[in-house]
Each structure stands twice: as C-alpha cells, then as structure tokens.
C-alpha cells in the first residue's frame, strides 16, 4: 500500500522566484496519475522532486504518511524511467536490471528470480544477454521499465517515456503501460506533454501551467468540466473554439450571451455568480458544432480550409459574424473551400468562462453524441 501526499510543495532555484508553488495533490494507492502541461510548466521538475533528484524548497512530501523531503532517491522506494532510457551502455540487459539490486545487497537467486519475472512480463527474456546498443528503441524502453519493476518500488515515476518512440510504437507501448499498471497494481506518476497519452493512461490527470496545478481530475472530468480557459483549450484536439460576448441574461438555469453580430447564444450553465453586462468567453468544442440544424443554437459559416482525416473532416470556417471556428464534420461528406454551411449546437454543449477565465458549472455535461442521436434520430 502506498499513498503519496504533496502538501503545499514549492520549488525555487534562487530563493526568490518560485518555479513551482502551492502544489497540493493526493495520490491513492494503485492510482495512475498523469502530469501534463506545455513545456516549461514545471511538470518534470515536480517529478524530479518526487524522485529526490531535485531538492524541495518548501512544503512536505509524504510517502505512506512518512515525510521524505530529505531522503535520497534510493531510500524513498521509487523507481524512475527516463525519457532517454538511461541504460548503462557497458552492461548487458541482465546486469542493467541487476545493478540496483546488487548495490542494495539482494541475494543472487532473489535478483535472478525478480529479473526473470520482470523479463517475463515485458517479454524481453531473449534479450537478457544483449547490450543496450544492440536493442531497438522499443526494446530499450522495455528494459528501462524492467529495471524499474525489479526494484519493486512503492512508486513508479515515468518521465515522458514514449517521446523517443515512433508513432506506431508509441501507441503500442502506451497500451502495454496501461496493461502493466493493471497487472502490477502499481502507483504511477507519469509526465507527458501529449494530451492523448494523458487521456488514455491516467486515472487522474493533473494539468499544470506556469508552476501551478490548473486542475486535477479524471480524464472525462477535465474534458467535460474544465475549470478554466487554460484547461479547456489544452485538453481536446483541435482546440476548443472560443467566442467573446456579453451576458444578456443570467440565472441558475442558464446564461444567454450576445456575441459578435448581435447573435444571442443560449447556454446551459449555472449563471449564479455572474451579472448581466459581464464580459465572458463562450467555448464550444469542434466535435459539438454540428453540420446541419439539429442543435438549438444556429450559425452559418464559410469554409476556409478542410483537413481530411478519413473518419472526419476538420473544417476551418469563418462565421457570419467574423468569428473563426473549427468544426469536426462528417468525413464522408464532400465539403469545398468557399462553401457556406449551416452549423448548430445544443445549448448544453457550451462552456462559459468569466472574465478571470474561470468556468461556470455546466448543467448537463457529457453525452453530446447521445443528444445528437436523440435530436436527429
């Protein structure tokens, strides 16, 4: 059983400017936590603070209710998998995995047992005698993970482990890591800048920006109920469309917003904290803007650019009111540049952010696709 608690952690290199501040996070036993954010947001620094490679400037880090702030990496019971794998180049795979255990003074047959076990899980039995330079990128990645497994750590730390692999291998390894997490029931903290990795792997996603945690929650929570503008635009691809407007009507049952072109957009969010005349941003995801008029809020737009993905088209449009938006359209339908098409969205699909970028609570998050089938079917 291992629980990790981060209590008001801060990191500062010069004693004045904090690169990380006010980091509070609880990690449950067996939880897969993904730290995600743009480069420079401090996610890797936070991981290295967990590992003990980077010192902690303030706050407390507890593993299993014991404060570990000052403990060196080896005594924290963690194992880290590096982006560059960091295999010892002059040792074969077996020795790479055995090295840490040997240093810790484990018995020879115990070391052997653990290595055979880990190699079995990762299917690298046949590679044990090879040197790292004789392995492919994917194999090296497995060995690096194997080296972490044999230590039987309380906490696994992954630092962008997939970013050196090619696209196909990345998807495959991603699945294997997910499976590994289930099989080992391991507690994992995983850093990535790739939101797809974050969404697919994480039990809990922690979105970071500028040294602060923006929001922590399950993948669907982040997708459906982003806490602020940053999370809303960071999660989801293409980025959420944002339209500026002024509130014309606000109640606990909904908010109406006047956007450019004097169009009124009705949204189903909790408008208790907002007043008529406030400036807000209305957000709508590209997949919730539909071609046709199935939704209650309707727009017209001219196509500027089409990206064909096969199963879908991304249509880049300019609305009548001059606003640029992206729409995820049906891949089967032929759309040409210059076409004017009708768009619509249900009032429940909109997000509304106040002047400080904080989201108003959506009343009916989720199930947009089901809603569409209901209205069109």
């Amino acid at each position: 059983m291992s629980q990790v608690a981060l209590k008001n952690l801060t990191k500062s290199y010069d004693g004045k400017n904090n690169v990380l501040s006010g980091i509070n996070l609880d990690i449950q036993d067996g939880e897969f936590v993904v730290l995600v954010g743009p480069s420079g947001c401090g996610k890797s620094t936070l991981l290295r603070m967990l590992s003990g490679l980077e010192s902690i400037s303030g706050g407390d880090l507890e593993i299993d209710h014991a404060r570990v702030n000052e403990l060196p990496p080896a005594e924290r019971g963690i194992a880290m998998v590096f982006q560059s794998y960091a295999l010892y180049p002059h040792m074969n795979v077996y020795k790479n995995m055995a090295f840490g255990l040997k240093i810790a003074g484990a018995k020879k047959d115990e070391i052997d047992r653990r290595i055979r076990h880990a190699a079995g899980i990762l299917k690298i039995d046949h590679l044990l005698e090879r040197l790292p330079r004789e392995l492919s990128g994917g194999q090296r990645q497995r060995v690096a993970i194997g080296r972490a497994i044999v230590r039987e750590p309380k906490l696994f730390l992954f630092d962008e482990p997939l970013s050196n692999l090619d696209a196909a291998l990345r998807v495959q390894t991603r699945l294997e890591i997910a499976k590994l997490h289930k099989d080992l029931a391991a507690t994992i903290v995983y850093v990535t800048h790739d939101q797809v990795e974050a969404m697919t792997l994480g039990d809990k996603i922690v979105v970071m920006h500028d040294g602060h945690i923006q929001q922590a929650g399950s993948p669907l929570e982040l997708y459906q109920q982003p806490a602020n503008l940053f999370v809303a635009t960071f999660i989801g691809s293409p980025k959420m469309n944002l339209i500026d407007g002024i509130v014309t009507e606000a109640s606990a049952a909904g908010v109406s917003v006047k956007v450019a072109g004097d169009q009124i957009v009705r949204t189903e969010v909790d408008g208790s904290g907002i007043a008529i005349g406030d400036k807000v941003s209305v957000g709508i995801r590209s997949e919730h803007l539909w071609e046709g008029d199935a939704g209650s809020e309707r727009f017209h737009g001219t196509v500027n650019l089409v990206e064909h993905l096969g199963e879908a088209n991304y249509l880049y449009l300019t609305l009548e009111n001059g606003q640029d938006v992206v729409v995820r359209g049906d891949g089967e339908r032929a759309v040409h540049i210059g076409d004017t098409i009708a768009l619509s969205a249900p009032a429940a699909a909109f997000h509304v952010f106040n002047r400080d970028g904080l989201a108003l609570r959506r009343l009916k998050p989720g199930n947009m696709v089901a809603a569409r089938h209901r209205t069109t079917g």
Partner: protein
C-alpha cells in the same frame, strides 16, 4: 565521371601526404634500429645501408645488457612511469569528475587554476622544485620524480577527462542515484568504464613525455641507483669518445615499452582522439 577522378586524386594526395609524414617520422627510429645491429665500422662507413653479413654485430646489445646496469635503469624508468601514470589517471579522473559534476564554492576557480598548469611549463619551476625536493630530503629518490611527473601530468589529464565526463548523459548518473548507487560506485562502475577511450588517450599522452624525460632525472635523481634509461644512455656518450653501438642499442631498447603501449592502446586511442574531435 570527372567528379570520380578528382575524388580519387584527392584521396591519392591525402595518402601521399600521410605516407610522407609517416616516412619522416619513422626514418630516425628505423635508422637507430638498423645501426644498432651493425659494427662500429659499419655504422661509420655507410650509416644508411642495411646490415650485411660483414657488418652484422650485436656488440652494442652485449655491452648494454651485460656490462652496464642497463636493466636496472630500465626498471627505474618503468617504475617511475607506471606509478606516475596510475596516479595521474586515478587522481585526474576523480578530480575531473568532481569539477564537472559537483558545483561548489570555488570550483570554477579551481578549474582555471588547473588549466593554468597546462599553459605554464613545469620546467620553469625547476629551481623551486629542486629546493623543495632537497628540503624534503627526496634527492636521488624515484619518489621525487614521481611527484613531479604527477604534478606535470595532472592538468592536461583533468582537462581532457573532464571534457569526456561532461559528455556522459546526466540521466545515467540520475538513474544510478535512483538505483541507490553511491557516488564512488557511480564514478568507478559507470563513469570510468564509459570514458575508457579517453583514459587510454591520456595514458599515452602522459606516458611518452615521462618516459623520454631527461631533465628531471638529471637534476633530481642523477645518482647511480636512481638513473632512468634516458639518463643511463648518457654514460655511453663521452666528451671525446662516444660508444655508438651501445647508445643505439640502448635507444632501440628504450623504444620498446612505448611501442607495446601504443599497440595495446591504439584502438582506444583513435576512438578517444576522434570522439574528442567531433564533439
């Protein structure tokens, strides 16, 4: 087609230059070896010709090996060189690791101080060194020589090894620290094996000047007991009479250890030099 021809000509020219240089470098050594197995008359009559049945003679080697304490000198040289070499490599690598890995107060200054050692020839300090050695009562000991050579070799060793240690990826050390490996073990079991080519390079570069040095043995340890090969050879060179057979024979013998070292280290050496070059 024309391109191919120019390229072939280019390679040909390169090889010509390299070949010429090789010839130039090897010629004196060849001359020494050829003449070391000739009689005195043979040497003076036609120094450039190969030994014939008439001029063939091993009298030089007989004199050197049987009638002089040459073996003893050889032993002295070997002791001084090997002990200095080991000390330079171990201390140099450790210092290089410390300077590049740990940032402490004055580490930059210390690195500059070491770099200074490369720029200032140690012979400039001969008088002070001699005074120091006399005060320490180390005159006519091999220890004096070893100490001086270690001081002479360290700066360059630290500089070259430091460059290589910096190239070892940071993640390797961090992975080792996560594995619970102590700093000494990280150095000896991870860093040192990885910079082996550099160590071989430094070994050759520091060994040759020590082996060939005449200056410090002459000043610090000229006694019969502690003479090195280069100094020992001098006994055959007189003001009026020089025993060329013996001189050439002992010089031929003195080349051997360096040659052996090169053969063993050459592959590592080339890797070391090129790895440094393309950085």
């Amino acid at each position: 087609m024309k391109h191919k021809v120019t390229r072939a000509a280019g390679t040909g020219f390169t090889h010509l230059v390299l070949g010429g240089y090789t010839l130039l470098a090897l010629f004196p050594i060849l001359l020494v070896i050829i003449n070391s197995v000739k009689s005195k008359d043979g040497i003076f009559d036609s120094p450039l010709s190969l030994p014939t049945a008439e001029t063939w003679s091993l009298v030089g080697f007989e004199k050197v090996l049987a009638k002089s304490p040459f073996i003893h000198f050889f032993g002295n040289s070997l002791t001084v060189t090997l002990v200095s070499l080991v000390l330079i490599l171990v201390l140099g690598a450790m210092a290089a690791w410390a300077l590049s890995e740990y940032k402490f107060r004055g580490s930059k200054l210390l690195a500059i101080y070491m770099a200074f050692g490369i720029m200032v020839p140690i012979r400039l300090g001969t008088v002070s060194i001699l005074e120091l050695v006399v005060k320490l009562e180390l005159t006519n000991t091999l220890t004096a020589l070893i100490l001086v050579y270690v001081a002479q070799g360290l700066p360059l060793a630290i500089m070259i090894l430091g460059e290589f240690i910096q190239q070892v990826p940071k993640e390797l050390k961090e992975a080792a620290r996560c594995d619970g490996v102590g700093e000494f073990k990280i150095f000896f079991q991870i860093i040192l094996p990885l910079i082996r080519p550099a160590v071989a390079t430094v070994a050759v570069f520091t060994m040759v000047p020590i082996w060939n040095d005449l200056w410090f043995p002459l000043i610090l340890a000229p006694g019969e007991e502690t003479q090195t090969v280069t100094l020992g050879v001098q006994q055959f060179i007189g003001q009026y009479v020089t025993d060329w057979n013996a001189v050439l024979a002992s010089l031929s013998l003195a080349v051997l250890p360096v040659l052996v070292m090169y053969v063993f280290a050459s592959r590592q050496l080339i890797r070391g030099i090129t790895a440094g070059a393309v950085k």
